[in-house]
C-alpha cells in the first residue's frame, strides 16, 4: 500500500541508538539489562524482537514505550522522546505489556469502557476503533460480562490486545502477544496482526516463538544478553548459516570399525555415539556425497534429517555460541528451558 506521510521523519517511526538500561547501582550489584541497542523501524513495517528469556526484550520495549528513562542512548518514536513527551505520543500509539494489568473484579466491558474513556478516537464518532470493534477483532464480544479474573490466560491476552487496538493507533507495541494462547487463537492473532500491518499500522513485537517472527516479521533482531546479535530480514539473518544433516549409523557399523565417512568438502562433522551431525554450507553437494557413500556400503541411515538453514538454526547457534562465551548465569531465571520451548513450537 503506497501512502504518503508528509510529517517528518517521513520513514522512520522508531529510532533507537546506543540504548542502555541498568538496574540497581553502578557496582557489581547492579545489572545491565540493555547494553547498547540500535534499531530502526520504518513506517508500515512489522519488526520482531526475538530473544531468550532474560535477553532484554521487555527492558528494551519499556524504554521505547517511554515507561522508563534509559540509562544511556536515545529513543525517538514518531519524532518524540517517548519518556519526556509521553503526552504527545500516547494518542498515536497502542501498547500491550507482557502481563495484563487489569483489575480482576471488573468485567471485560467495564475494563474496556474505562480504557475507551482515556483513549483518543475510541468513542463512537471519534474516528478511531471503538470498544465493540476492538472486542470483535479479538473474538471477545461474547465475554463482555465476564470478570477479568474469570477469563482464561489466553482470553486475558486477547483483552490486552483489544485495549491496545482502541482508537486505531498508528504504532503498536506488542510484548509477547501470543504467549499463553492455544494454537487456534494464536493463528487468529497472527491473522489479525497481519491485517493491521496490511492496513498501514507499524508494529514492534517481541516473541520467543521463532515461527511467529518467520510468519509475520518484515525484519527482525535477535537479542542476547542485552545486545542485538543479528538483525535483518529472515533471509538475511539465516544467510551464511550452515545447513544441517543428521542421521544414525546402523548397529552393525560397529563391526566395521575401519569404515569412515567420505571426505565432505567444507562440512563439519560431529559424532555422538552412533548419531552423526554434519553442518555444511552446501547442502545438496554434501547430501549427494553422503547418500552415495551410504549406497556403496549398503548402509541404512536411521532418522535421516536434512534441513536448510532456518531461523531456528540461526537462533540456536546464537544462543549456544553466546552461552559458551559468557559463563555468568542469566540474570532472570528462565521459567523453563527456552530452547526446548523453541524446538517444541517449531514445525
Amino acid at each position: 500500500m503506497e501512502t504518503s506521510h508528509p510529517q517528518p521523519p517521513a520513514d522512520h517511526v522508531i529510532e533507537v541508538a546506543g540504548l542502555h538500561r541498568r538496574y540497581g547501582p553502578a557496582d557489581p550489584a547492579g545489572f545491565d539489562a540493555v547494553r547498547g541497542v540500535d534499531l530502526t523501524v520504518r513506517r508500515g513495517e512489522l519488526f520482531a524482537l526475538l530473544g531468550t528469556n532474560g535477553a532484554g526484550k521487555t527492558s528494551t520495549m519499556e524504554l521505547i514505550e517511554g515507561l522508563a528513562a534509559p540509562t544511556g542512548g536515545q529513543v525517538r518514536v514518531l519524532g518524540h522522546d517517548p519518556y519526556r513527551e509521553r503526552g504527545a505520543l500516547r494518542p498515536r500509539i497502542g501498547i500491550m505489556l507482557q502481563e495484563g494489568g487489569f483489575p480482576g473484579d471488573l468485567t471485560v466491558a467495564e475494563t474496556g469502557r474505562a480504557w475507551a474513556g482515556i483513549t483518543s478516537g475510541a468513542r463512537p464518532g471519534d474516528g478511531g476503533r471503538t470498544l465493540d470493534e476492538a472486542l470483535a477483532l479479538v473474538g471477545l464480544t461474547g465475554r463482555r460480562g465476564v470478570r477479568v479474573k474469570q477469563l482464561s490466560g489466553g482470553e486475558r491476552r486477547r483483552l490486552d490486545l483489544a485495549v491496545a487496538l482502541l482508537g486505531r493507533p498508528e504504532v503498536l507495541f506488542l510484548d509477547e502477544p501470543s504467549t499463553g494462547l492455544d494454537p487456534e487463537a494464536r493463528a487468529a492473532t497472527w491473522r489479525l496482526v497481519r491485517d493491521l500491518r496490511a492496513q498501514g499500522t507499524t508494529v514492534l513485537l517481541t516473541t520467543h516463538y521463532l515461527e511467529e517472527a518467520e510468519e509475520l516479521a518484515d525484519r527482525l533482531a535477535i537479542m542476547h544478553r542485552g545486545r542485538i546479535v543479528t538483525t535483518g530480514t529472515v533471509a538475511e539473518v539465516i544467510a551464511g548459516r550452515p545447513s544441517r544433516i543428521s542421521f544414525e549409523l546402523p548397529e552393525r557399523e560397529l563391526e566395521f570399525a575401519d569404515l569412515t565417512l567420505p571426505p565432505l568438502a567444507g562440512a563439519e562433522v560431529r559424532a555422538e555415539g552412533r548419531r552423526i551431525t554434519v553442518q555444511t554450507p552446501r547442502l545438496q553437494d554434501t547430501l549427494t556425497e553422503l547418500l552415495g557413500w551410504a549406497a556403496r556400503h549398503r548402509l541404512a541411515l536411521g532418522g535421516l534429517d536434512a534441513r536448510s538453514a532456518s531461523l531456528e538454526e540461526a537462533f540456536l547457534a546464537i544462543a549456544a555460541g553466546a552461552e559458551e562465551q559468557s559463563p555468568e548465569p542469566p540474570a532472570v531465571p528462565a521459567r523453563r528451558n527456552p530452547l526446548r520451548k523453541l524446538i517444541g513450537s517449531a514445525r
Binding site: G117, L137, E170
Partner: protein, 281 residues
C-alpha cells in the same frame, strides 16, 4: 475471531486527541468506584468504621469535658468525626487501593495510556473523595439537626480546609502505598500517620485540652491545619480564642493556611518523586 475491515486504516496523524484531563479522571474514577463497591472489606472500613467511632469518641470527649471546663463538646465531636471520616475513607482506603492497583500492574498498564501520572492518581482517588465528602456532608447535616449546631461562620474556610485535607491525604496515601507491599500490610504502614493524627491533630484530644507548648507543636503536624480550618470555618474558633465572625476568622486562619499549604506542597512534591508505579521485582 473475525476481522472486519475498518473504514480507515489508522487514525490520521493530524487528528487531535479526543480525550480531556477531566474526562480521563472521570473514566478512571468510574472504574475505581465499581471496584470499591465490589470490595466489601474496603467498603466496611470506609463507611462503617468512622460511624462506629462516633460512639467511642463521644465517651472519650465526655471524660475530657469533666477535666476541662469550657470545652465545646459538640464542636470537638464534629471535628473528630470529620477527621476520622477523612482518615479512613481517603487516607487508609486509598492507600490500600493504590497498593492493590500497583500489585495488579494496573498502574503500570495505565501509564501506557493517555492519562498523565497525576490523572492516574487523581482518577483512582475519585470514589474515595466522593464518599468522604458525602459522609462529611451527612455528619454536618446530622450535627446541625440533632445537636442544633449553628450555621458555618465562614464557609470558605471549610472549603479550603477540606481541599487541603483531600489533597494532602491523597498525596500521603500514595506515599504510604510506596512503602506497602500488600493490601494486608496497609494496616501497618498507615498506622504511624493514623495514630499521630488521631492523638495530635485534635481528633481524640482537642488541642485546647493540651498544654500550650504541646498544642503549638501539634498545630505543626501535617493534618492539623486542615482540620483546624474546617473547625474555624464552622464554629468561628479553633478553640484557642473566643469565636469570631466571618471577617475575624481570616486572621486566625492565616497560620493554618500557611502551614497546611506548606505540608501539602511537600507531600505532593515528595510523592511525585518517590511513588512506585510497579511492584518491586
Amino acid at each position: 475471531m473475525t476481522t472486519a475491515a475498518p473504514a480507515a486504516p489508522v487514525r490520521p496523524a493530524t487528528a487531535a486527541p479526543t480525550t480531556t484531563p477531566a474526562g480521563r479522571i472521570l473514566a478512571l474514577g468510574r472504574a475505581e468506584a465499581t471496584l470499591l463497591l465490589r470490595n466489601r472489606s474496603a467498603l466496611f472500613i470506609a463507611v462503617a468504621l468512622p460511624l462506629l467511632m462516633i460512639g467511642a469518641l463521644r465517651g472519650v470527649l465526655d471524660q475530657q469535658a469533666e477535666k476541662l471546663a469550657g470545652l465545646d463538646l459538640d464542636a470537638a465531636l464534629v471535628n473528630g468525626v470529620v477527621g476520622f471520616v477523612l482518615m479512613f475513607v481517603v487516607y487508609y482506603n486509598l492507600t490500600s487501593a493504590y497498593v492493590a492497583r500497583r500489585n495488579e500492574l494496573v498502574l503500570k498498564r495505565l501509564r501506557t495510556g493517555e492519562a498523565g501520572d497525576l490523572e492516574i492518581l487523581a482518577g483512582t482517588a475519585v470514589p474515595a473523595v466522593a464518599l468522604g465528602l458525602l459522609m462529611c456532608a451527612l455528619v454536618a447535616v446530622g450535627g446541625a439537626v440533632m445537636m442544633h449546631l449553628p450555621g458555618p461562620a465562614n464557609p470558605l474556610l471549610i472549603v479550603a480546609g477540606l481541599a487541603l485535607a483531600l489533597v494532602l491525604l491523597i498525596a500521603l496515601a500514595a506515599l504510604s502505598s510506596s512503602f506497602t507491599k500488600t493490601v494486608e500490610s496497609a494496616g501497618i504502614t498507615t498506622l504511624p500517620l493514623m495514630l499521630v493524627t488521631q492523638f495530635g491533630s485534635g481528633l481524640l484530644v482537642p488541642l485546647e485540652a493540651m498544654s500550650d507548648r504541646v498544642a503549638d507543636l501539634c498545630r505543626l503536624l501535617p493534618a492539623t491545619p486542615a482540620f483546624e480550618l474546617i473547625r474555624l470555618g464552622w464554629f468561628g474558633t479553633d478553640g484557642s480564642a473566643p469565636a469570631t465572625g466571618f471577617a475575624g476568622t481570616w486572621a486566625e486562619a492565616a497560620p493554618h493556611l500557611a502551614v497546611g499549604t506548606l505540608w501539602t506542597a511537600v507531600a505532593v512534591w515528595t510523592t511525585l518523586r518517590v511513588f512506585r508505579w510497579e511492584p518491586r521485582r
